[in-house]
């Protein structure tokens, strides 16, 4: 694999990108496209590429590279662009601190503690998985309760199995992928249990990872008890009512040795908090404008650190934009400031970016709160699109052309998803 090593760290860079997953790699490439000269791409792992290395399944790249790739193939493509662009990659290094004047303190296995100044910063630290504590599953605390992503690391990177009889709680995409992966490894996957009345992963994963392998998916059902003193011995699952309260009279026990959790991702915003970026309480990520700039000028953010994506392709596209904007920032090109705020309305959880400018074309990413069929997505009364269905699990992206906004004179635009 390609890991270009930075031998000498400069005290100053045009653009420093924190996190070398798909988001950070695309951002670095974007900054280079716009003429940023000294670019430093940092990652705490020993290899750039982020979570992609452990995603050995297919399904990446259709939108961004126009062909279907595995995670590692996707990572290699991105990395090649990074090396071709002459971007400095510094791995085994942790961005320890950051100050509003864009001085970054780095803790590096190879360089020790160092400080670098950046003309612009791009935050691309990705996300972490929600854990058992976050949803307080009652019961004992044996070994064998772990997140789907950690299980994926064990299986795909270390050749080890997380257990032999597995129950999966939550129908997030990583859990679905792992249901298939473990089945292929000869592990018994007893079922996927989802507390909501609809699945939380992409439909294609439900079909290809569960249906094709006869793995049952139980909706409106949750794990109400975990048993086992040392290692998991079993769980109790129960259906829930509309208020998500379990109906214990219909609970039943399942013997298993492992519980995988696929209950959502949370943007990793440790650094964003250090500099007091404005955060959106719904996404748990920074509030960004149409150039992916945060509430502090010269600090950009992209990828899962801003909001959770379901496809890496969209991460790359959003991040390319952020990187280009960072490049513009350091080369002194400033696009006109945004003049429209997007307000999430009926059945809209959030929109990213949070603001738009009437002079350019934008892609607006959004998520709905609940599934809906035959509906219309309305941007105030200036623009609307009809869609067959929406799901909270599938991010909606809409291209806003300047012409839609030509005759709009307000300063905020409400976004609603309504039944036709």
């Amino acid at each position: 694999m390609i890991t270009p090593e930075v031998r000498q760290l400069a005290p100053r860079y045009d653009v420093v990108v924190s996190g070398a997953g798909p988001a950070g790699m695309a951002a670095a490439v974007g900054a280079r496209e716009r003429g940023a000269e000294r670019i430093l791409l940092i990652d705490r792992e020993r290899e750039a590429g982020g979570i992609l290395w452990q995603c050995i399944h297919h399904g990446f790249g259709l939108h961004h590279f126009g062909e279907e790739l595995t995670g590692p193939e996707y990572a290699e493509r991105c990395l090649r662009q990074v090396t071709d662009g002459g971007i400095d990659v510094l791995t085994d290094t942790y961005v320890y601190d950051i100050s509003p004047d864009r001085t970054l303190t780095l803790m590096s296995g190879s360089h020790g503690m160092r400080q670098v100044r950046a003309g612009a910063v791009v935050l691309a630290m990705g996300a972490r998985e929600r854990t058992r504590g976050a949803i307080r599953i009652p019961g004992e605390r044996p070994a064998g309760v772990l997140t789907a992503g950690l299980a994926q690391k064990f299986v795909n990177m270390m050749g080890l199995l997380p257990g032999r009889r597995v129950v999966i709680l939550g129908s997030g995409d990583i859990g679905l992928i792992m249901a298939r992966r473990l089945t292929l490894e000869g592990v018994e996957v007893l079922g996927v249990f989802e507390i909501m009345p609809y699945a939380n992963g992409l439909n294609r994963n439900i079909v290809q990872c569960l249906h094709d392998f006869d793995i049952p998916l139980s909706l409106s059902t949750t794990v109400v008890d975990i048993r086992g003193r040392e290692r998991v011995e079993g769980v109790t699952v129960a259906p829930v009512d509309q208020a998500l309260r379990p109906d214990m009279s219909r609970a039943h026990d399942i013997a298993c040795d492992t519980v995988l959790l696929s209950i959502g991702l949370i943007p990793e915003n440790e650094l964003s908090r250090r500099i007091d970026l404005r955060l959106d309480p719904v996404t748990s990520g920074p509030v960004v404008n149409s150039t992916m700039e945060t509430s502090i000028g010269g600090v950009f953010a992209c990828g899962n650190v801003v909001h959770i994506h379901d496809l890496v392709d969209f991460v790359s596209q959003e991040s390319l934009l952020a990187g280009r904007a960072a490049g513009d920032y350091v080369t002194g090109r400033r696009p006109p400031a945004d003049n429209i705020r997007l307000l999430p309305g009926d059945n809209v959880a959030y929109c990213v970016p949070h603001t738009l400018s009437t002079d350019r074309e934008h892609v607006v990413y959004m998520r709905v709160r609940k599934p809906m069929e035959k509906c219309t997505i309305r941007f105030g009364d200036v623009f609307s699109v009809k869609v067959r269905y929406v799901f909270p699990a599938e991010m909606v992206n809409i291209t806003m052309k300047p012409k839609f906004l030509e005759n709009f004179h307000g300063d905020s635009l409400r976004v609603d998803v309504v039944q036709r």
Partner: protein, 479 residues
């Protein structure tokens, strides 16, 4: 080898006794049934060094709580496990609770507790703005503090071992025989361990251990306490340990700024039948969050990152049972429920005195070294110091646990200091204790354990026994 003293149980009590005895020229062994010390009640509690005014007068608890409290500064000075006297506030939420505050104030003063003060609302809100507007008054106790209780156990045993105490883990005592000359033989799966004196510090099982030699006559009832750890986002929300007015059954449900600064809320208090019942429950969570929200409204379930339950070893009559028994040479140290952690150093001294009375000759150990080398807590150091260390050893520059900023060097040191399990690393270094709960660092800690201990990944456990983490692809290879 014939030991002078065998201690059964390596909780904070057994470890404190072991260390106190290591001052003398004695052959001492500590037998612990789990794979590391402190894995019983002593790691699952609130970690509060109680101020000294809580337990009623005329009880051992009252006497030893205050005596223990005063010993923590010196202990910390020697062992550096992390201890801060951050104070406690007992809140009166209605006028009729004012006499309760006064009762505790007086109880403390009679015992000699210093720094007790009634605060009015204005003072409370000046010092602790997050406390509910409904508060009427509070009793402030400056002598209260917090520790990380597991770190106390680890450093006590490390110090004891450096001074010659033998530690046998994975060694449950299953029976105790006594031969003609009065020597005890403690039966463990690894063989019999002979000793002239035995101290029973077996926590929840101290009734069963006492019965092995016919020194029983009491029983231990487990009283469960559930606790909930909150995200470090709330760090600093309160500085003092926040108590409601206590009831006769319990000190109530508290808001605890842990030694590391993050908040913990709990514990509940319910008797259970099973000494292994460490389950948490939906009901417990509800009770805890409802109770603490009345005291500090800014706390919510949404910030919960982990939970656990601990079992208090409650003896009949609720007081500690400490003393010699009808069986000469066999000393009980049982029923050590709360404030057992607080009292531990004082209990250990009491046991030393009892053993002397029982006829154990005690000569000072000329090589006794009370101090442990200061442990590096990388995340807490000033940046210049961190930079210097990272320069010196690149393993300080590699962050193993990103949530708690624990360096790989600290994880390595923990393994060299005796950690054999993931929990052993976690409770020594905090790696895996943060908001991702080990999602990112578990595999790295496992790799390091595997390399340092020379064991395969499949032999690594969370906390010993059958708590394996991963298995091989072939059937039947699970550790």
């Amino acid at each position: 080898m014939l030991y002078d003293v065998a201690i059964v149980g390596g909780g904070v009590i057994g470890c404190a006794i072991a260390r106190a005895l290591s001052r003398f020229r004695l052959r001492v062994v500590l037998l612990e049934k789990e794979c590391e010390v402190g894995f019983g009640t002593s790691k699952s509690n609130s970690g509060i060094i109680h101020a000294g005014h809580h337990a009623a007068g005329g009880t051992l608890k009252g006497e030893l709580e205050w005596a223990g409290n005063r010993m923590w500064d010196a202990l910390h000075e020697e062992l550096d496990f992390g201890f801060a006297r951050n104070g406690e506030l007992m809140l009166a939420m209605a006028g009729d609770q004012l006499p309760v505050l006064e009762h505790y104030r007086r109880q403390g003063i009679e015992r000699g507790v210093t720094g007790l003060e009634i605060w009015d609302r204005e003072r409370i809100h000046r010092e602790e703005p997050a406390i509910s507007a409904d508060v009427v008054a509070a009793l402030h106790a400056a002598t209260a503090g917090v520790v990380n209780p597991y770190e106390v156990c680890f450093s006590l045993i490390e110090s004891a071992r450096r001074n010659g105490v033998a530690l046998l883990v994975d060694s449950p005592v299953r029976g105790i025989a006594r031969d003609g000359d009065g020597t005890f033989a403690l039966q463990t799966p690894g063989g019999a361990v002979p000793a002239r004196f035995v101290v029973n510090a077996a926590g929840l099982y101290s009734d069963e251990v006492a019965r092995m030699v016919g020194a029983g006559g009491f029983s231990i009832h487990p009283r469960k306490g559930e606790e909930y750890l909150l995200d470090k986002r709330l760090k600093g929300l309160v500085r003092n340990v926040i108590f409601p007015c206590p009831t006769p059954q319990s000190k109530g449900i508290l808001v605890i700024p842990t030694y590391d600064g993050t908040l913990m809320v709990g514990p509940t208090a319910t008797f259970v039948d099973d000494k292994n019942d460490r389950t948490t429950s939906a009901k417990g969570a509800e009770e805890v969050f409802a109770a603490v929200r009345r005291l500090v409204p800014g706390i919510s379930e949404r910030d919960c990152i982990a939970e656990f339950a601990g079992l208090r070893a409650v003896a009949d009559g609720e007081d500690f049972i400490i003393g010699p028994t009808a069986v000469r040479g066999f000393v009980n140290c049982a029923g050590i429920q709360s404030p057992g952690l607080t009292s531990a150093p004082a209990i250990a001294e009491r046991i030393v005195a009892i053993l002397k009375d029982e006829g154990l000759a005690m000569e000072p150990n000329p090589e006794y070294e009370p101090r442990l080398r200061k442990r590096v807590r990388f995340a807490a150091l000033p940046m210049e110091e961190q930079a210097r260390l990272a320069e010196e050893d690149s393993r300080f520059g590699r962050i193993g646990c990103r949530c708690e900023q624990v360096s790989e060097r600290e994880i390595l040191d923990a393994i060299h200091a005796g950690a054999r399990t993931l929990d052993g690393i976690k409770f020594r270094t905090r790696a895996g204790m943060g908001r991702c709960q080990g999602g990112f660092c578990t595999w790295r800690s496992m790799q390091m354990l595997s390399a340092e201990l020379g064991i395969p990944m499949t032999a690594i456990t969370k906390r010993g026994g059958a708590s394996w983490i991963v298995c091989d692809r072939e059937e039947g290879d699970a550790a």
